[in-house]
Subunit: 238 residues, 2 copies
Amino acid sequence: MPKTSATPPFPRCIPSELFGAIGLTAKELERVQKLIFVPRSVKKGERLFRHGQPFQDIYAVRSGGFKSCIRSSQGREQVIGFHLPGDLLGLQGIASERHTCEVSAIEDAEVCTMPFEHVESLARELPSVQHLFYQWMSNEILRESQAIIMLGSLRAEGRVAAFLLNLLERLKALGYSGSELVLGMTRADIGSYLGLKLETVSRVFSKLSTSQLISVDNRNVRVLRHEALVELATPQPL
Amino acid sequence: MPKTSATPPFPRCIPSELFGAIGLTAKELERVQKLIFVPRSVKKGERLFRHGQPFQDIYAVRSGGFKSCIRSSQGREQVIGFHLPGDLLGLQGIASERHTCEVSAIEDAEVCTMPFEHVESLARELPSVQHLFYQWMSNEILRESQAIIMLGSLRAEGRVAAFLLNLLERLKALGYSGSELVLGMTRADIGSYLGLKLETVSRVFSKLSTSQLISVDNRNVRVLRHEALVELATPQPL
DNA sequence: CGATGGCTTGAGATGTTTCAACCCACGTGG
DNA sequence: CCACGTGGGTTGAAACATCTCAAGCCATCG
């Protein structure tokens, strides 16, 4: 979703990256690939799955970006997360056997589809795969609690700062610059995710920009004073 | 944590309840019990585990109530969840191999300790146990996204209403009344969880009380107009 | 009995939303 | 090729919600 303006290192999550670190043999990797690595490409704006749809697969983002939303009965939409390459999608559906949110691409993307039944049988066979999946799910829980912390303890400026830092950090882990990014989402999406109105998001961007913490040109953001952002994103002592 | 004022149905989560529905044989149940069901009791105010502590076990609440908090470097504490019998604790720690929050009892409680290594090996052996754990983790993810939705789309009144309804529903599932409860936590805890100051929580209680949606006597709450609360807890259309 | 912790309430300060106007870039059809 | 509509973004002023600070109440406990 967001990228640096510089030519990207072209990160794509392939089996050897996702499963590479856990010491599988070539044969096992091949099995992983065949069973739980069905590729699929998704155009910008296309939905990967919808709320209520029967749950069968989980997905790993290989390239591009996604947002996940819930949609209330009255049609109000709320963004509950943005997803970059390496992230897993659809984990919420396991318990209820239906998807409980909808996920759509905010730029052209590729995923690999992992039929959950295959994941389960493979996990029984290969302990390291099992452990990896528990870790991924645990990470998802962690990611969400960080969102809760942010929403519960920061006001507008802090939330935007935390949002930017979070994206930058994740992008950095993917090989991007760590101080520059291109937002793939609208101000309204950001606001929805942060529990703010888009006007507020816009004002905060302007304010951070005039106080020289960041420079903003439409969707291009560059961080000028990283520590100052960190400071803003830190809940006040006491 | 919260109970009805009426004598409680005394819910305790025992192996046959937690694992009963998934069709294990008596022999398997016994194995479950031995490997991942080490009981432990926790006094009110006592901590089950702390932030940063090495992760080894997860816990299932059998009776009583807990809160989980994160504590910032400056000592600011934020509540990120309340836990009733049947809930799982410590799931966040799997990914990082350390606990990332601290959990303490808000009333006398019992848990069963589940050494995570045993859980993993048992899960490999018994597919239904494996599936159950994935479901539990998925549920945790779901629970958290609901918190995010609440924080992101409701203001003070709605948050408090959603909080009460959520507790009532969970208590009802445990056999309690569904319209009456005793809060086990302080206003400050509630506020911290809801992203509000305790004064605001107090004011909202007062307001809901004078408008006859609930009756409040200190920590005893009775719901008078359930639908009206649901209405409040529903994000505005558009 | 005085100290304490939890709770309530008020009044003013601060932060956020609302509503409205306006700008710009883009794509489409006359 | 221009005119126009549209979607995304910015900005201002006033309405509104929440927080802050301060006071006071009540029950509990040593």
